[in-house]
Protein backbone atom coordinates (compact mmCIF):
# COMPACT_ATOMS: atom_id res chain seq x y z
CA UNK A 1 0.00 0.00 0.00
CA UNK A 2 1.14 3.48 -0.71
CA UNK A 3 1.49 5.75 2.14
CA UNK A 4 0.95 9.30 1.19
CA UNK A 5 1.93 12.26 3.40
CA UNK A 6 0.42 15.67 2.84
CA UNK A 7 2.29 18.78 4.03
CA UNK A 8 -0.29 21.19 5.47
CA UNK A 9 -1.06 24.16 3.40
CA UNK A 10 -0.50 27.70 4.67
CA UNK A 11 -4.26 28.04 5.17
CA UNK A 12 -4.36 25.00 7.36
CA UNK A 13 -1.40 26.23 9.46
CA UNK A 14 -3.04 29.64 9.78
CA UNK A 15 -6.28 28.03 10.91
CA UNK A 16 -4.41 25.95 13.52
CA UNK A 17 -2.70 29.06 14.93
CA UNK A 18 -5.98 30.94 14.80
CA UNK A 19 -7.71 28.27 16.90
CA UNK A 20 -5.02 28.09 19.63
CA UNK A 21 -6.09 28.93 23.19
CA UNK A 22 -2.94 30.97 23.81
CA UNK A 23 -2.56 34.28 22.09
CA UNK A 24 -0.06 34.25 19.23
CA UNK A 25 1.43 37.33 17.56
CA UNK A 26 3.80 36.81 14.62
CA UNK A 27 6.11 39.52 13.29
CA UNK A 28 8.52 39.71 10.42
CA UNK A 29 12.20 40.71 10.61
CA UNK A 30 11.31 44.41 10.62
CA UNK A 31 8.91 43.92 13.49
CA UNK A 32 5.79 44.45 11.48
CA UNK A 33 2.89 42.35 12.77
CA UNK A 34 1.95 39.77 10.18
CA UNK A 35 -0.45 37.65 12.23
CA UNK A 36 -2.59 38.07 15.38
CA UNK A 37 -4.76 35.10 16.34
CA UNK A 38 -8.24 35.34 17.85
CA UNK A 39 -7.10 34.69 21.43
CA UNK A 40 -4.50 37.49 21.20
CA UNK A 41 -7.04 39.89 19.71
CA UNK A 42 -9.36 39.19 22.62
CA UNK A 43 -6.61 39.78 25.16
CA UNK A 44 -5.33 42.94 23.53
CA UNK A 45 -8.20 45.00 22.18
CA UNK A 46 -5.96 47.91 21.07
CA UNK A 47 -2.45 48.32 19.80
CA UNK A 48 -0.33 45.15 20.06
CA UNK A 49 3.31 46.11 19.47
CA UNK A 50 3.80 48.10 22.72
CA UNK A 51 3.48 44.81 24.66
CA UNK A 52 6.15 43.05 22.65
CA UNK A 53 9.54 43.46 24.24
CA UNK A 54 12.17 42.90 21.58
CA UNK A 55 14.95 43.04 24.17
CA UNK A 56 13.97 39.62 25.56
CA UNK A 57 16.02 36.57 24.72
CA UNK A 58 14.33 33.88 22.61
CA UNK A 59 12.46 31.50 24.89
CA UNK A 60 12.30 34.02 27.74
CA UNK A 61 9.04 34.49 29.62
CA UNK A 62 7.95 37.75 31.22
CA UNK A 63 4.80 39.23 32.76
CA UNK A 64 3.31 42.54 31.76
CA UNK A 65 0.26 44.44 32.97
CA UNK A 66 -2.44 45.51 30.59
CA UNK A 67 -5.10 47.59 32.30
CA UNK A 68 -6.34 45.39 35.16
CA UNK A 69 -5.12 42.22 33.46
CA UNK A 70 -1.81 40.46 33.85
CA UNK A 71 -0.30 38.78 30.78
CA UNK A 72 2.48 36.21 30.67
CA UNK A 73 4.46 36.58 27.42
CA UNK A 74 7.08 34.30 25.79
CA UNK A 75 9.24 35.35 22.86
CA UNK A 76 10.37 32.81 20.27
CA UNK A 77 12.33 33.15 17.03
CA UNK A 78 11.67 30.98 14.00
CA UNK A 79 14.37 30.95 11.36
CA UNK A 80 15.90 34.32 10.66
CA UNK A 81 12.76 36.02 9.53
CA UNK A 82 9.97 35.39 11.96
CA UNK A 83 9.56 36.02 15.62
CA UNK A 84 6.52 35.03 17.61
CA UNK A 85 5.08 36.09 20.96
CA UNK A 86 2.90 33.67 22.90
CA UNK A 87 0.52 35.37 25.29
CA UNK A 88 -1.45 34.00 28.21
CA UNK A 89 -3.83 35.88 30.53
CA UNK A 90 -2.73 34.90 34.06
CA UNK A 91 -4.78 37.48 35.96
CA UNK A 92 -7.02 34.92 37.70
CA UNK A 93 -4.23 32.44 38.30
CA UNK A 94 -2.15 35.13 39.99
CA UNK A 95 -5.10 36.38 42.01
CA UNK A 96 -5.71 32.85 43.28
CA UNK A 97 -2.05 32.45 44.19
CA UNK A 98 -2.11 35.81 45.98
CA UNK A 99 -5.26 34.87 47.86
CA UNK A 100 -3.69 31.58 48.88
CA UNK A 101 -0.54 33.32 50.03
CA UNK A 102 -2.58 35.83 52.05
CA UNK A 103 -4.61 33.01 53.58
CA UNK A 104 -1.42 31.18 54.51
CA UNK A 105 -0.05 34.36 56.00
CA UNK A 106 -3.19 34.78 58.12
CA UNK A 107 -3.10 31.16 59.28
CA UNK A 108 0.59 31.52 60.09
CA UNK A 109 -0.18 34.69 62.01
CA UNK A 110 -2.84 32.97 64.11
CA UNK A 111 -0.55 30.01 64.83
CA UNK A 112 2.16 32.39 66.00
CA UNK A 113 -0.40 34.37 68.01
CA UNK A 114 -1.66 31.20 69.71
CA UNK A 115 1.87 30.16 70.54
CA UNK A 116 2.92 33.50 72.01
CA UNK A 117 -0.33 34.19 73.85
CA UNK A 118 -0.38 30.82 75.58
CA UNK A 119 3.18 31.22 76.79
CA UNK A 120 2.34 33.41 79.76
CA UNK A 121 -0.14 33.82 82.61
CA UNK A 122 1.06 37.35 83.24
CA UNK A 123 -1.38 40.09 82.22
CA UNK A 124 1.26 42.54 81.08
CA UNK A 125 3.13 39.95 79.03
CA UNK A 126 -0.10 38.82 77.35
CA UNK A 127 -1.01 42.43 76.52
CA UNK A 128 2.50 43.04 75.23
CA UNK A 129 2.34 39.95 73.01
CA UNK A 130 -1.04 41.12 71.67
CA UNK A 131 0.25 44.59 70.78
CA UNK A 132 3.46 43.29 69.24
CA UNK A 133 1.74 40.59 67.21
CA UNK A 134 -0.74 43.10 65.83
CA UNK A 135 1.99 45.46 64.64
CA UNK A 136 3.11 44.62 61.15
CA UNK A 137 0.57 42.42 59.43
CA UNK A 138 -2.44 44.16 60.99
CA UNK A 139 -1.46 47.75 61.63
CA UNK A 140 1.29 50.38 61.85
CA UNK A 141 0.53 50.93 65.51
CA UNK A 142 -1.38 48.72 67.94
CA UNK A 143 -2.55 49.66 71.42
CA UNK A 144 -3.99 47.30 74.00
CA UNK A 145 -6.12 48.99 76.64
CA UNK A 146 -6.45 46.69 79.65
CA UNK A 147 -9.78 46.26 81.44
CA UNK A 148 -10.29 49.02 84.01
CA UNK A 149 -11.66 46.58 86.60
CA UNK A 150 -13.69 49.29 88.32
CA UNK A 151 -10.72 51.61 88.80
CA UNK A 152 -10.48 55.20 87.56
CA UNK A 153 -7.29 54.70 85.60
CA UNK A 154 -6.40 51.84 83.34
CA UNK A 155 -3.13 50.59 81.89
CA UNK A 156 -2.26 50.44 78.20
CA UNK A 157 0.56 49.03 76.07
CA UNK A 158 1.40 50.19 72.58
CA UNK A 159 3.62 48.71 69.92
CA UNK A 160 4.85 50.46 66.77
CA UNK A 161 8.09 51.22 64.92
CA UNK A 162 8.85 53.41 67.92
CA UNK A 163 9.03 50.24 70.00
CA UNK A 164 6.97 49.21 72.99
CA UNK A 165 5.48 51.96 75.12
CA UNK A 166 3.26 51.63 78.16
CA UNK A 167 1.41 53.84 80.56
CA UNK A 168 -1.96 54.44 82.06
CA UNK A 169 -4.80 56.80 81.36
CA UNK A 170 -8.00 57.97 83.00
CA UNK A 171 -10.79 55.59 82.00
CA UNK A 172 -12.88 58.64 81.02
CA UNK A 173 -10.41 59.39 78.19
CA UNK A 174 -11.67 56.31 76.35
CA UNK A 175 -14.56 58.52 75.18
CA UNK A 176 -12.10 60.51 73.04
CA UNK A 177 -11.37 57.55 70.76
CA UNK A 178 -14.20 56.59 68.44
CA UNK A 179 -15.53 53.18 69.48
CA UNK A 180 -13.14 52.65 72.42
CA UNK A 181 -15.57 53.17 75.29
CA UNK A 182 -18.00 50.77 73.59
CA UNK A 183 -15.25 48.19 73.02
CA UNK A 184 -14.16 48.41 76.67
CA UNK A 185 -17.77 47.80 77.64
CA UNK A 186 -17.72 44.68 75.48
CA UNK A 187 -19.91 45.83 72.60
CA UNK A 188 -19.21 44.16 69.25
CA UNK A 189 -16.78 46.02 66.99
CA UNK A 190 -17.98 48.40 64.28
CA UNK A 191 -16.42 48.28 60.80
CA UNK A 192 -13.34 50.44 60.41
CA UNK A 193 -14.98 52.55 57.70
CA UNK A 194 -17.46 53.91 60.25
CA UNK A 195 -14.71 55.24 62.48
CA UNK A 196 -13.38 58.69 61.64
CA UNK A 197 -9.58 58.51 61.94
CA UNK A 198 -9.38 62.30 62.20
CA UNK A 199 -11.04 62.08 65.59
CA UNK A 200 -8.17 60.00 67.03
CA UNK A 201 -6.63 62.04 69.87
CA UNK A 202 -2.91 62.72 69.83
CA UNK A 203 -2.20 60.53 72.90
CA UNK A 204 -3.49 57.47 71.07
CA UNK A 205 -0.46 57.29 68.77
CA UNK A 206 3.28 57.33 69.18
CA UNK A 207 5.04 60.67 68.69
CA UNK A 208 5.77 61.37 65.01
CA UNK A 209 3.34 58.74 63.74
CA UNK A 210 1.83 61.18 61.24
CA UNK A 211 -1.78 61.41 60.13
CA UNK A 212 -3.96 58.37 60.73
CA UNK A 213 -5.69 56.99 57.66
CA UNK A 214 -7.59 54.07 59.16
CA UNK A 215 -8.67 53.13 62.63
CA UNK A 216 -10.04 49.82 63.92
CA UNK A 217 -11.22 49.35 67.51
CA UNK A 218 -12.00 45.79 68.63
CA UNK A 219 -13.09 44.52 72.05
CA UNK A 220 -10.99 41.76 73.61
CA UNK A 221 -13.65 39.31 74.81
CA UNK A 222 -12.74 37.55 78.04
CA UNK A 223 -14.50 34.76 79.91
CA UNK A 224 -17.88 36.46 79.99
CA UNK A 225 -16.31 39.80 80.85
CA UNK A 226 -14.56 42.31 78.57
CA UNK A 227 -10.78 41.90 78.79
CA UNK A 228 -9.96 45.33 77.37
CA UNK A 229 -9.75 46.59 73.80
CA UNK A 230 -7.38 46.55 70.86
CA UNK A 231 -6.91 49.77 68.89
CA UNK A 232 -5.25 49.44 65.47
CA UNK A 233 -4.10 52.39 63.37
CA UNK A 234 -2.79 52.53 59.82
CA UNK A 235 -1.17 55.59 58.32
CA UNK A 236 -2.83 57.85 55.81
CA UNK A 237 -2.12 56.62 52.27
CA UNK A 238 -1.85 52.98 53.32
CA UNK A 239 -4.43 50.31 52.59
CA UNK A 240 -7.58 50.32 54.70
CA UNK A 241 -8.90 47.42 56.78
CA UNK A 242 -10.67 45.13 54.32
CA UNK A 243 -13.27 42.55 55.32
CA UNK A 244 -10.72 39.73 55.51
CA UNK A 245 -8.52 41.75 57.83
CA UNK A 246 -11.41 42.78 60.06
CA UNK A 247 -12.42 39.13 60.40
CA UNK A 248 -8.83 38.17 61.15
CA UNK A 249 -8.61 40.92 63.78
CA UNK A 250 -11.78 39.61 65.43
CA UNK A 251 -10.43 36.04 65.58
CA UNK A 252 -7.11 37.34 66.89
CA UNK A 253 -8.88 39.53 69.47
CA UNK A 254 -10.86 36.52 70.71
CA UNK A 255 -7.62 34.62 71.35
CA UNK A 256 -5.87 37.58 72.89
CA UNK A 257 -8.90 38.36 75.08
CA UNK A 258 -9.08 34.80 76.37
CA UNK A 259 -5.36 34.86 77.19
CA UNK A 260 -5.52 38.25 78.93
CA UNK A 261 -8.61 37.43 80.98
CA UNK A 262 -7.13 34.09 82.04
CA UNK A 263 -4.00 35.96 83.13
CA UNK A 264 -6.07 38.55 85.02
CA UNK A 265 -7.99 35.81 86.87
CA UNK A 266 -4.81 33.87 87.57
CA UNK A 267 -3.07 36.92 88.99
CA UNK A 268 -6.03 37.82 91.16
CA UNK A 269 -6.15 34.29 92.49
CA UNK A 270 -2.46 33.97 93.10
CA UNK A 271 -2.45 37.34 94.87
CA UNK A 272 -5.24 36.03 97.14
CA UNK A 273 -3.36 32.78 97.69
CA UNK A 274 -0.17 34.68 98.50
CA UNK A 275 -2.01 36.67 101.17
CA UNK A 276 -3.51 33.51 102.65
CA UNK A 277 -0.27 31.56 102.45
CA UNK A 278 1.51 34.50 104.08
CA UNK A 279 -0.24 33.55 107.29
CA UNK A 280 1.24 30.08 107.02
CA UNK A 281 4.83 31.20 106.57
CA UNK A 282 7.17 29.93 109.27
CA UNK A 283 7.45 32.53 112.01
CA UNK A 284 10.77 33.85 113.29
CA UNK A 285 11.81 31.88 116.34
CA UNK A 286 12.75 33.77 119.50
CA UNK A 287 16.02 33.20 121.27
CA UNK A 288 15.37 31.32 124.53
CA UNK A 289 18.08 31.03 127.14
CA UNK A 290 19.31 27.48 127.48
CA UNK A 291 17.33 26.18 124.48
CA UNK A 292 17.94 25.79 120.77
CA UNK A 293 14.88 26.12 118.55
CA UNK A 294 14.67 25.15 114.90
CA UNK A 295 11.67 24.79 112.62
CA UNK A 296 10.87 24.01 109.04
CA UNK A 297 7.60 24.41 107.18
CA UNK A 298 7.13 23.32 103.60
CA UNK A 299 3.83 23.96 101.90
CA UNK A 300 2.52 21.65 99.19
CA UNK A 301 3.79 22.69 95.75
CA UNK A 302 0.42 23.52 94.21
CA UNK A 303 -1.10 26.77 95.45
CA UNK A 304 -4.60 25.27 95.28
CA UNK A 305 -3.32 22.70 97.77
CA UNK A 306 -2.17 25.23 100.34
CA UNK A 307 -2.49 23.23 103.47
CA UNK A 308 -2.87 24.06 107.04
CA UNK A 309 0.34 23.03 108.78
CA UNK A 310 1.69 25.68 111.10
CA UNK A 311 3.91 26.17 114.12
CA UNK A 312 4.64 29.00 116.51
CA UNK A 313 6.80 29.77 119.47
CA UNK A 314 4.95 32.33 121.56
CA UNK A 315 6.83 34.02 124.40
CA UNK A 316 5.07 34.51 127.75
CA UNK A 317 6.47 35.89 131.01
CA UNK A 318 6.72 32.33 132.37
CA UNK A 319 8.50 30.93 129.36
CA UNK A 320 7.62 30.22 125.74
CA UNK A 321 4.67 28.17 124.50
CA UNK A 322 5.42 26.01 121.49
CA UNK A 323 2.67 24.88 119.18
CA UNK A 324 2.48 22.83 116.02
CA UNK A 325 -0.78 22.01 114.30
CA UNK A 326 -2.54 20.89 111.19
CA UNK A 327 -5.99 22.00 110.08
CA UNK A 328 -8.33 19.79 108.11
CA UNK A 329 -8.54 20.23 104.36
CA UNK A 330 -6.61 22.24 101.83
CA UNK A 331 -6.76 25.45 99.89
CA UNK A 332 -7.74 28.93 101.03
CA UNK A 333 -10.19 27.64 103.65
CA UNK A 334 -7.46 25.67 105.38
CA UNK A 335 -5.20 28.72 105.31
CA UNK A 336 -7.88 30.91 106.87
CA UNK A 337 -8.63 28.34 109.58
CA UNK A 338 -4.93 27.95 110.41
CA UNK A 339 -4.68 31.73 110.75
CA UNK A 340 -7.71 31.79 113.05
CA UNK A 341 -6.28 29.10 115.31
CA UNK A 342 -2.93 30.86 115.58
CA UNK A 343 -4.55 34.18 116.42
CA UNK A 344 -6.93 32.54 118.92
CA UNK A 345 -3.92 31.03 120.64
CA UNK A 346 -2.15 34.35 120.83
CA UNK A 347 -5.20 35.97 122.40
CA UNK A 348 -5.94 33.08 124.79
CA UNK A 349 -2.33 33.04 125.90
CA UNK A 350 -2.87 36.45 127.53
CA UNK A 351 -5.24 34.75 129.99
CA UNK A 352 -4.27 31.08 130.09
CA UNK A 353 -0.99 29.25 129.68
CA UNK A 354 -1.88 25.71 130.68
CA UNK A 355 -1.82 23.50 127.54
CA UNK A 356 -4.76 21.34 128.66
CA UNK A 357 -6.98 24.35 129.40
CA UNK A 358 -5.95 25.96 126.12
CA UNK A 359 -7.00 22.82 124.23
CA UNK A 360 -10.49 22.93 125.78
CA UNK A 361 -10.88 26.62 124.97
CA UNK A 362 -9.79 26.22 121.35
CA UNK A 363 -12.04 23.19 120.95
CA UNK A 364 -15.04 25.24 122.12
CA UNK A 365 -14.10 28.14 119.88
CA UNK A 366 -13.85 25.81 116.86
CA UNK A 367 -17.17 24.12 117.63
CA UNK A 368 -18.90 27.51 117.65
CA UNK A 369 -17.31 28.40 114.29
CA UNK A 370 -19.71 29.11 111.43
CA UNK A 371 -17.49 27.18 109.05
CA UNK A 372 -18.32 23.49 108.92
CA UNK A 373 -15.51 21.01 109.44
CA UNK A 374 -13.24 23.32 111.37
CA UNK A 375 -11.15 20.41 112.61
CA UNK A 376 -7.65 20.95 113.93
CA UNK A 377 -4.94 18.72 115.32
CA UNK A 378 -2.60 20.43 117.71
CA UNK A 379 0.38 19.97 120.01
CA UNK A 380 0.92 22.55 122.74
CA UNK A 381 3.97 22.66 124.94
CA UNK A 382 4.55 25.10 127.79
CA UNK A 383 8.28 25.34 128.41
CA UNK A 384 9.79 26.02 131.79
CA UNK A 385 13.19 27.07 130.52
CA UNK A 386 15.14 26.98 133.78
CA UNK A 387 14.27 23.35 134.59
CA UNK A 388 14.08 22.04 131.04
CA UNK A 389 10.53 20.81 131.69
CA UNK A 390 7.85 20.95 129.01
CA UNK A 391 4.14 20.43 129.81
CA UNK A 392 2.63 18.81 126.73
CA UNK A 393 -0.92 18.39 125.50
CA UNK A 394 -1.64 16.59 122.24
CA UNK A 395 -4.99 16.73 120.44
CA UNK A 396 -5.56 14.45 117.47
CA UNK A 397 -1.94 14.88 116.49
CA UNK A 398 0.99 12.45 116.27
CA UNK A 399 2.72 12.46 119.64
CA UNK A 400 6.06 14.34 119.71
CA UNK A 401 9.29 12.34 119.79
CA UNK A 402 12.06 12.65 122.35
CA UNK A 403 15.65 12.19 121.31
CA UNK A 404 17.83 11.62 124.32
CA UNK A 405 21.45 12.73 124.27
CA UNK A 406 22.56 9.07 124.03
CA UNK A 407 20.53 8.46 120.85
CA UNK A 408 17.51 6.72 122.39
CA UNK A 409 14.21 7.83 120.82
CA UNK A 410 11.00 7.76 122.86
CA UNK A 411 7.46 8.62 121.82
CA UNK A 412 5.87 11.03 124.27
CA UNK A 413 2.95 9.35 126.00
CA UNK A 414 0.31 11.99 125.37
CA UNK A 415 -2.95 11.60 123.43
CA UNK A 416 -6.10 13.54 122.84
CA UNK A 417 -9.13 14.07 120.65
CA UNK A 418 -9.10 16.00 117.41
CA UNK A 419 -10.29 19.57 118.12
CA UNK A 420 -13.53 20.99 116.73
CA UNK A 421 -14.77 17.57 115.66
CA UNK A 422 -17.05 16.08 118.30
CA UNK A 423 -20.26 18.04 118.64
CA UNK A 424 -20.84 17.21 122.30
CA UNK A 425 -17.77 19.32 123.08
CA UNK A 426 -16.22 16.55 125.19
CA UNK A 427 -12.61 15.87 124.44
CA UNK A 428 -10.34 13.53 126.31
CA UNK A 429 -6.73 14.54 126.85
CA UNK A 430 -3.84 12.68 128.42
CA UNK A 431 -1.19 15.30 129.12
CA UNK A 432 2.37 14.69 130.15
CA UNK A 433 5.37 16.62 131.40
CA UNK A 434 8.68 15.73 129.83
CA UNK A 435 12.04 16.68 131.23
CA UNK A 436 14.85 17.54 128.89
CA UNK A 437 18.34 16.87 130.18
CA UNK A 438 21.14 18.84 128.50
CA UNK A 439 21.53 17.49 124.94
CA UNK A 440 17.97 16.08 124.82
CA UNK A 441 15.71 17.16 121.96
CA UNK A 442 11.93 17.23 121.57
CA UNK A 443 10.60 16.94 118.01
CA UNK A 444 7.13 18.09 117.00
CA UNK A 445 6.08 17.07 113.50
CA UNK A 446 3.04 16.95 111.25
CA UNK A 447 1.65 13.86 109.51
CA UNK A 448 2.92 15.24 106.19
CA UNK A 449 6.27 13.76 107.27
CA UNK A 450 5.07 10.28 108.22
CA UNK A 451 2.48 10.04 105.46
CA UNK A 452 4.91 10.95 102.68
CA UNK A 453 4.44 8.38 99.92
CA UNK A 454 7.63 7.28 98.21
CA UNK A 455 10.36 4.77 98.73
CA UNK A 456 11.35 2.05 96.26
CA UNK A 457 7.76 1.47 95.05
CA UNK A 458 6.61 5.08 95.27
CA UNK A 459 3.53 3.84 97.12
CA UNK A 460 5.01 3.23 100.54
CA UNK A 461 4.40 5.50 103.50
CA UNK A 462 7.43 6.93 105.30
CA UNK A 463 5.79 6.02 108.58
CA UNK A 464 6.60 6.74 112.23
CA UNK A 465 9.21 4.00 112.59
CA UNK A 466 11.41 5.36 109.77
CA UNK A 467 11.16 8.80 111.35
CA UNK A 468 12.26 7.37 114.71
CA UNK A 469 15.17 5.55 113.09
CA UNK A 470 16.21 8.73 111.29
CA UNK A 471 15.93 10.76 114.49
CA UNK A 472 18.11 8.27 116.38
CA UNK A 473 20.98 9.07 114.01
CA UNK A 474 20.81 12.75 115.00
CA UNK A 475 22.06 12.46 118.58
CA UNK A 476 24.40 15.26 119.54
CA UNK A 477 23.52 17.44 116.57
CA UNK A 478 22.34 21.04 117.01
CA UNK A 479 18.58 21.53 116.56
CA UNK A 480 18.95 23.24 113.17
CA UNK A 481 21.01 20.34 111.81
CA UNK A 482 18.46 17.80 113.10
CA UNK A 483 15.59 19.55 111.32
CA UNK A 484 17.60 19.87 108.10
CA UNK A 485 18.63 16.22 108.19
CA UNK A 486 15.12 14.92 108.85
CA UNK A 487 13.74 17.07 106.06
CA UNK A 488 16.47 15.86 103.72
CA UNK A 489 15.81 12.18 104.52
CA UNK A 490 12.08 12.74 104.02
CA UNK A 491 12.65 14.44 100.66
CA UNK A 492 14.92 11.59 99.59
CA UNK A 493 12.10 9.18 100.44
CA UNK A 494 9.68 11.18 98.31
CA UNK A 495 12.23 11.19 95.47
CA UNK A 496 10.54 14.10 93.75
CA UNK A 497 7.01 12.79 94.38
CA UNK A 498 4.11 15.01 95.38
CA UNK A 499 4.30 16.04 98.98
CA UNK A 500 1.72 17.28 101.39
CA UNK A 501 2.41 20.12 103.78
CA UNK A 502 4.96 19.16 106.35
CA UNK A 503 6.16 20.85 109.48
CA UNK A 504 8.99 20.13 111.90
CA UNK A 505 9.85 21.93 115.10
CA UNK A 506 12.76 20.88 117.29
CA UNK A 507 13.49 22.09 120.82
CA UNK A 508 16.89 21.13 122.25
CA UNK A 509 18.21 21.83 125.68
CA UNK A 510 21.70 23.10 125.12
CA UNK A 511 22.81 23.15 128.75
Amino acid sequence: MDSVTHAPSTEVLRAIVEAAADGVVLCDADGAVVLVNAAAREMIPGEVTSLLDRGREPGETYETALGDRLLRVRREIFGIVHQAWYLRDVTNETARADALRAERERAQFLVEAGRRLSASLNTRRCARATAELATGLLADAAMVVLPPGGLRRTAWLRSSEAGLEEGDMPVAHADQVPGLAEALAGFPPVPSRWLDPNQAPEWLLPAGFGPVGHLLVTPLPGNGVPAGALVLARREGGAGFDDETETLVRVFAARAGAAISAAVLYQEQSATNAILAGDLRPPPLPAVDGLELAGSLRAAQQTALIGGDFYDVLPTPDGPLVTLGDVCGKGPRAAVLAGQVRHSLRALLLLERDPEQLMHLINKALLSSYTPRSHVTLVLGAIHPGEGVIDLAVAGHPAPLLLRADGVVEEVDARGTLLGAIKSGAISLRTVSVELAPGDLLLLYSDGITEAFGGPTGREMYGPSRLKTALATCAGMPATAVVERLEQLNSDWLAGGVFDDRALLAIRRSR
Binding site: C328, G396, G458
Partner: protein
Protein backbone atom coordinates in the same frame (compact mmCIF):
# COMPACT_ATOMS: atom_id res chain seq x y z
CA UNK B 1 2.16 9.37 92.88
CA UNK B 2 -0.53 7.09 91.50
CA UNK B 3 -3.42 6.69 93.92
CA UNK B 4 -5.72 3.78 94.55
CA UNK B 5 -9.22 4.65 93.30
CA UNK B 6 -11.69 5.37 96.05
CA UNK B 7 -14.79 3.15 95.94
CA UNK B 8 -17.96 3.10 98.01
CA UNK B 9 -20.14 -0.02 98.09
CA UNK B 10 -23.56 0.07 99.72
CA UNK B 11 -25.41 -3.04 100.88
CA UNK B 12 -28.49 -3.65 103.00
CA UNK B 13 -27.89 -6.96 104.84
CA UNK B 14 -30.95 -6.29 107.04
CA UNK B 15 -33.93 -3.99 106.31
CA UNK B 16 -32.81 -1.48 108.97
CA UNK B 17 -29.06 -1.90 108.39
CA UNK B 18 -26.87 -0.27 105.76
CA UNK B 19 -23.31 -1.42 105.26
CA UNK B 20 -20.77 0.91 103.63
CA UNK B 21 -17.63 -0.72 102.31
CA UNK B 22 -14.97 1.85 101.50
CA UNK B 23 -11.76 1.11 99.66
CA UNK B 24 -8.83 2.98 98.15
CA UNK B 25 -7.43 6.39 99.09
CA UNK B 26 -9.92 8.32 101.18
CA UNK B 27 -8.51 11.83 101.09
CA UNK B 28 -8.96 15.47 100.17
CA UNK B 29 -9.67 14.64 96.53
CA UNK B 30 -12.12 11.77 97.09
CA UNK B 31 -13.86 12.46 100.41
CA UNK B 32 -16.46 14.71 98.76
CA UNK B 33 -18.08 11.59 97.25
CA UNK B 34 -19.05 10.19 100.63
CA UNK B 35 -19.88 13.63 102.02
CA UNK B 36 -22.36 14.18 99.19
CA UNK B 37 -23.92 10.78 99.80
CA UNK B 38 -24.36 11.21 103.55
CA UNK B 39 -27.87 12.80 103.54
CA UNK B 40 -29.30 10.10 101.25
CA UNK B 41 -27.85 7.35 103.47
CA UNK B 42 -30.02 8.55 106.33
CA UNK B 43 -33.19 6.88 105.06
CA UNK B 44 -36.19 6.76 107.38
CA UNK B 45 -35.81 3.07 108.25
CA UNK B 46 -32.09 3.21 109.03
CA UNK B 47 -31.16 2.04 112.51
CA UNK B 48 -27.66 0.66 112.06
CA UNK B 49 -24.91 2.01 109.83
CA UNK B 50 -21.94 -0.31 109.44
CA UNK B 51 -18.71 1.04 108.00
CA UNK B 52 -16.03 -1.31 106.70
CA UNK B 53 -12.63 0.33 106.21
CA UNK B 54 -10.64 -2.86 105.57
CA UNK B 55 -9.89 -1.85 101.98
CA UNK B 56 -8.95 1.76 102.75
CA UNK B 57 -5.28 2.35 101.98
CA UNK B 58 -4.98 5.97 103.11
CA UNK B 59 -7.04 8.49 105.08
CA UNK B 60 -6.12 12.14 105.45
CA UNK B 61 -7.72 14.82 107.62
CA UNK B 62 -10.49 15.40 105.04
CA UNK B 63 -11.34 11.71 105.08
CA UNK B 64 -11.44 11.73 108.87
CA UNK B 65 -13.63 14.83 108.83
CA UNK B 66 -16.06 13.08 106.49
CA UNK B 67 -16.28 10.08 108.85
CA UNK B 68 -16.90 12.44 111.78
CA UNK B 69 -19.59 14.19 109.74
CA UNK B 70 -21.17 10.82 108.96
CA UNK B 71 -20.99 9.88 112.65
CA UNK B 72 -22.81 13.08 113.63
CA UNK B 73 -25.42 12.60 110.91
CA UNK B 74 -26.10 9.07 112.19
CA UNK B 75 -26.26 10.31 115.78
CA UNK B 76 -28.85 12.93 114.86
CA UNK B 77 -30.91 10.56 112.72
CA UNK B 78 -30.74 8.56 115.09
CA UNK B 79 -28.90 5.47 113.98
CA UNK B 80 -26.01 3.58 115.45
CA UNK B 81 -22.81 3.86 113.42
CA UNK B 82 -20.26 1.14 113.99
CA UNK B 83 -16.99 0.27 112.30
CA UNK B 84 -16.88 -3.38 111.34
CA UNK B 85 -13.44 -3.63 109.79
CA UNK B 86 -10.20 -1.69 109.55
CA UNK B 87 -6.47 -2.08 109.13
CA UNK B 88 -3.88 -1.53 111.89
CA UNK B 89 -2.91 1.70 110.09
CA UNK B 90 -6.42 3.12 110.49
CA UNK B 91 -6.72 1.82 114.05
CA UNK B 92 -3.50 3.71 114.83
CA UNK B 93 -4.87 6.84 113.17
CA UNK B 94 -8.05 6.64 115.28
CA UNK B 95 -5.88 6.23 118.33
CA UNK B 96 -3.71 9.28 117.50
CA UNK B 97 -6.78 11.43 116.97
CA UNK B 98 -8.49 9.81 120.02
CA UNK B 99 -11.46 9.04 117.82
CA UNK B 100 -11.19 5.49 119.16
CA UNK B 101 -12.84 6.86 122.28
CA UNK B 102 -15.71 8.33 120.28
CA UNK B 103 -16.32 5.83 117.52
CA UNK B 104 -17.76 2.36 117.91
CA UNK B 105 -14.80 0.22 116.87
CA UNK B 106 -14.51 -3.53 116.35
CA UNK B 107 -13.10 -5.05 119.55
CA UNK B 108 -10.52 -7.14 117.71
CA UNK B 109 -8.45 -4.22 116.41
CA UNK B 110 -9.38 -1.38 118.76
Amino acid sequence: METAPFLIEIENPEPDTTRLTLSGDFDYTTSADLAAMTPTLMSSGLRVLEVDLTGVTFIDSSGLATLIHLYHAAEEHPAEMRFVGMTPYIAHLFEVTALDQVFNLPTSTA
